[in-house]
Amino acid sequence: MAPKKLDGDHRIVRQVPYSRWIRGDNNEYLGVLYSAFTLRETDSYLSVAWCEYFNLSAEEQARAAIFELRAARPDKKSTGYWIAKISSIEEVLSPHRIRALHEPVEGFNSHAALRRWPEDDELLATLAQEAEADFLLSGDLFG
């Protein structure tokens, strides 16, 4: 079965380690680095979790997606979770016509792949700076 294309109104979560977010004087969150969105050499897409996979309230959906994400890739209390609407990402990266696809993997049902992902640092910096997004800390969510 072909992977399902995700709606623009739906949200995705990206795990952002401490080293990829920008901090101020008191270690407070000021933004994310563009390198939070760069692909590793072995990846052909950006790996995220899809919030609306879960039939829950909006807040619980994000929490459930983060829960699956941290089970697949262990985090630390200082790990952040960047949550944005797919349409917001598509708008910033419009020249690339990215495709958000639901591609579940074992133990990670809400896994989604953002394909045709750009490798242009300047464009990813625009995404980091301009896309409307929420940012949650693992320590605040799970103690």
Binding site: Y18, S19, G24, L33, S35, K76, A125, T126, Q129
Partner: protein, 209 residues
């Protein structure tokens, strides 16, 4: 530890003792072994015995640890200490320690190159940077230094041997952001950034990113 290393270590500790508490120099609960010039390639407990290198899960594993890298950075900073204020050295040390601590470091990231911090220090000297950046990594061997000035932002990815990648966003007269990215050597950076009036990022009276 041989006599020379011991003396060097003692000298560095003495140099720092007036401005840094023991806790500022320890990482992951252990005080660093300060050695000049070479990076510590093994974990050394309080009794000085070799206890092995922490295994890395990264396919691009390097043969030094976060603690070893921190020690190398502190040594580099001490060798250039006359160029930086005590406040600057203290804040840089604390931010570096935070970044490399077990509490925050992601083991799947490739550690920054041994000389990446030295590249950052050279950037700060050449550009006469007074503000201390937010430190991070791109996870591929660079040390990221970011400065914000309102919506204007610059990130320098400091690599080995004076290699620097820059990504910046600056609002121009019409209120539209202008963006630029590229790679260069530290020595060329002042010329490359000249058109963007970098003092706005690096010298506005605040110490912070």
């Amino acid at each position: 530890m041989n006599r020379e290393s011991f003396l060097e270590c003692a000298m560095l500790r003495q140099r720092y003792s007036a401005e840094l508490r023991h806790d500022d120099l320890s990482i992951n609960g252990r005080a660093p072994e300060l050695r000049g010039g070479t990076i510590a390639r093994k974990a050394i407990e309080g009794n000085g015995e070799f206890t092995g290198v922490r295994p890395s899960k990264s396919p691009h594993a390097v043969n030094y640890t976060t603690r070893g890298l921190f020690e190398k950075c502190i040594t580099d900073l001490s060798q250039l200490s006359m160029h930086f204020s005590a406040d600057t050295r203290l804040t840089l040390t604390r931010r570096l320690k935070n970044l490399l601590s077990d509490e925050h470091w992601d083991d799947s990231d490739i550690l920054p190159a041994e000389t990446a911090f030295l590249t950052l220090l050279r950037c700060m000297l050449l550009l006469n940077i007074k503000r201390i950046p937010s430190l991070g990594t791109n996870g591929k061997g660079s040390l990221s230094a970011t400065w914000l000035d309102g919506k204007n932002r610059i990130t320098l990815e400091c690599g080995a041997k004076d290699e620097v990648a820059y990504v910046l966003s600056k609002t121009v007269a019409e209120g539209k952001p202008e963006r630029a990215a590229g790679h260069t050597k530290v020595v060329r950076l002042p010329k490359v950034l000249e058109a963007y009036d970098p003092k706005k990022w690096f010298d506005n009276g605040s110490k912070e990113a």
